[in-house]
Symmetry: C2
Subunit: 165 residues, 2 copies
Amino acid sequence: MSLDGYIARKDGSIDWLARVEHAGEDYGFQRFFDTVDTLAIGRNTWEVACGFDPWPYQGKRCVVLTHRPLDGHHGEERFAGPVRQLVESLATWGTRHVYVDGGQTVRQFLAAGLIDALTLSIIPIVLGEGIPLFGGELPEKGLVLDETRSWPNGLVQVRYRVAAS
Amino acid sequence: MSLDGYIARKDGSIDWLARVEHAGEDYGFQRFFDTVDTLAIGRNTWEVACGFDPWPYQGKRCVVLTHRPLDGHHGEERFAGPVRQLVESLATWGTRHVYVDGGQTVRQFLAAGLIDALTLSIIPIVLGEGIPLFGGELPEKGLVLDETRSWPNGLVQVRYRVAAS
């Protein structure tokens, strides 16, 4: 997110992420991604992912949270109910580590108390306006800082565990 | 601020800062404060400061930005015009380093391109709602990360220079 908490411009564009794009540097993403078996992402995040070639979530179960019909070409599944029900259902399938992405989706999971760990990469920019990661009257949650890292280009990554409430 | 970008609860209370209060630890504040000759703070921040005994800004010139009358007992000055005019006026008085605090005031200075450096302490909590530091359609500003520090209790401090726009 930008320092002022936005994950995209108002029109959804993420061109400003280019300031931290460097060949060969993924800010720990692959190492994290390797631990994940399932993705739960919002529709907007899915649409951004569909713009990448190759499909970035290859080899993972991918659930897209949307109320609209889904024209997925990568084996994506669509889910439209309460996120607690999704997590319970995934557990019966042996899912162990779900990667949740997208502003609305992260907020839904946070609100339901279903997030164990939160990793945020803070991009060195004040966007001024855009689509916020937080907001919308979430319940209060204490956090435990696990790790903080920074890179020479100014990206700061913080990783928290969500305290039991 | 909280991880979700709030500087106070909706009612202005900052009780949640208690989770990072430790005797003898000021997170670098005094070292920073010693470099400052003048404060420019918003009225709400001033009201919070008035609740402390002793007055925390002793020995500094203190300008409170407010349109309402000000009943200051510590030599505070009141200012109600454009912040650029304030900075120009302070410069003629030999002011060298102004400490700007308060959500609205920081945003006004940022919008006017009058902030050189930005220090943020991120408290390990998602408040869920409150008074935001950012928001309100600021102009986009690139930042240069100067330093990041973290403390065992989970406070993360980031310091940026504001890039020339």
